[in-house]
Amino acid sequence: MTCEPTATSGPVWRSYGVSRRSTRTVRVRISAALVAATVLAVFLVPPLVQLDQQAVDLSSKLLSPSWSHPFGTDDLGRDLFLRCVYGLRVSLLVGAAAALTATVIGTAIGAIAGALGGRADRALMRLVDTFSSVPHLLLGIFIVAMFRAGVWPVIVSVALTHWLSTARIVRAEVLSLRARPYIDAAISGGASRWRVAVRHLLPAVLPQAALAAVLMVPHAMWHESALSFLGLGLPTHLASLGNLIQGARGSLLAGQWWPTLFPGLFIIVPTLAIAGLAGAWRERINPRRRSELML
């Protein structure tokens, strides 16, 4: 215990512990800054830098990081930093498309289950449970295998495996809303169920759905990179981050670590930043439950 002298000859107070200041605001600010940096890099760098990221320059093959090439070059002499930025753009776009699709599906099913209740609800929830019994990547691999690799099969496969959590969240929200008096009032006032659903339930559900969508983007990115890495994802010419890592395998075995390391970092940092920011958002719109972890 530490002693704290007082100004007057009053009691001498001793403390029982150090109350540690929360680092939450700092973390949120860092996350926000990283997300902003990601968005800027992805959308501003390509038009500004004017370099063709595809330009092959075999004379500067596989240079390790230096001042002119901060991340080094890949096996065809292309600047790795640029490749990573473009790769991030592809991964983010595919991830966002998949997350959006998953959210739409999940919101629809969750809303229907919550609004209809009864047997339809139970049946739909059984469906949710069934889907969650198959490991995501395996189902994703299966769908892509059946439909052949390509952009849309990847998006669909990611979406079909990730709609479950959104469905559960939306259903819970709809169930709690249904119990509210203003909904009852609207229905007994003569409004059709459809009208009630669109004018009241939907706007209330949107924040949760939007949050779920944002939280899902990192997962979707991860999933797409895994598929691309296995050679079952996006076509190689699209050069997503997963494709880049797969393409770097050859150089890795020859000892060049940078074509593998940096694309991975470009997956991790935006993931952490988005998760951090979205997590803080979630804490603001949801009451906090101690035992829940944002994993």
């Binding site: 215990m1 001498v12 107070w13 001793r14 029982y16």
Partner: protein, 319 residues
């Protein structure tokens, strides 16, 4: 006169809230407890009694600050560091019988395992058979039936849980027992039984007992002296027979407390106790006191175990 077991001088505890507010939970507590004696600390809920108990054991939360002194033998409980508290004070110099005893036991372990663990930690007993025996003996000291030793805490009734907690508190053979609301949730017969058990520890074991309670009837049964707490201050310390019989309590609040009992006048004290973060400058009871005068806006000096400008003194009663 023998030295008291526990000697509390000017003990104050305050909490620093995140908003910057300060909550004065205990202010300037002064009392002694001697061996073979029971002091009952009474007051309404939220007056700071349990905080005082936590302060004595060094179990206050991180945002707490304490001042003053509490002397148990050679040890100043408030100045002691965590190591001293954990190794020499808790369980060994002070035996705590906590409020909600079942909640203070780990739910996934049996009563027996927790008794044995305490036996190993506090006594020198070693060896499975010896430890098992010692644990069973400890249970018996508190009249805890051996058949229930292999149950889990949630399976115990209120009375059994109380006895288990007492058994655990007695293992270290501490000179001071601290019972925090030992009669909450028990029905009348069990209340009598429980306090009689505690009294037995005082009489037979020559221990000092500090009982924290809001149950005045139970206090009457067990206490040698009474300490009344209001809004964090101890406003009166009296001999129990004088308190419950004649001449009666001296502080208007204590009079009010007794008067509120169903067995007596059954008249409640008007108003509500103040917020501990928002205490007035003078006597905290003045807003509810029928004897209040403008003098009461200043804090009364402590005199002969009483903090009041207008106490009920013997002359009044003769009148």
């Amino acid at each position: 006169m023998t030295a008291p077991v526990l000697s509390v001088r000017g003990l104050s505890v305050r909490f620093l809230m995140p908003s910057g507010r300060r909550i004065a939970a205990v202010t300037d507590a002064h009392f002694d407890v001697a061996a073979g004696e029971c002091l009952a600390l009474v007051g309404e809920s939220g007056c700071g009694k349990s905080v005082l108990a936590s302060a004595l054991l060094g179990l206050l939360p991180a945002n707490a600050q304490a001042a003053g002194g509490a002397y148990l033998g050679d040890v100043d409980l408030l100045a002691a560091d965590e190591r001293t508290l954990a190794r020499t004070v808790r369980g060994r110099l002070i035996g705590l019988i906590p409020q909600s005893p079942a909640a203070h036991l780990t739910p996934v372990r049996t009563v027996r395992s927790q008794l044995e663990e305490t036996v190993v930690a506090l006594t020198g007993t070693r060896g499975r058979a010896a430890v098992r025996q010692a644990a069973e003996a400890a249970a018996e000291r508190a009249a805890f039936p051996a058949g229930h030793l292999d149950h889990h805490p949630h399976e115990l009734s209120g009375g059994l849980a109380q006895r288990a907690a007492t058994a655990l508190a007695l293992i270290g053979n501490a000179p001071l027992l601290l019972a925090d609301e030992p009669t909450t949730g028990l029905d009348r017969d069990l209340v009598h039984h429980t306090v009689d058990e505690l009294r037995r520890q005082v009489d037979v074991g020559r221990r000092a007992l500090l009982v924290i309670t809001h149950d005045l009837a139970a206090a009457e049964r067990i206490a040698d002296r009474m300490a009344v707490m209001y809004a964090g201050r101890i406003v009166e310390i009296s001999d129990a027979t004088a308190f419950f019989g004649l001449p009666g309590p001296r502080h208007p609040y204590s009079r009010g407390l007794l008067g509120a009992l169903p067995e007596r006048d059954f008249i409640p004290i008007p108003g509500m106790p103040p917020e501990l973060g928002d205490l007035p400058d003078g006597c905290a009871f003045a807003p509810r006191c029928e004897r209040a005068t403008p003098t009461c806006t200043t804090l009364p000096a402590a005199a002969a175990g009483l903090v009041c400008h207008h106490p009920h003194v013997t002359e009044d009663l003769r009148a």
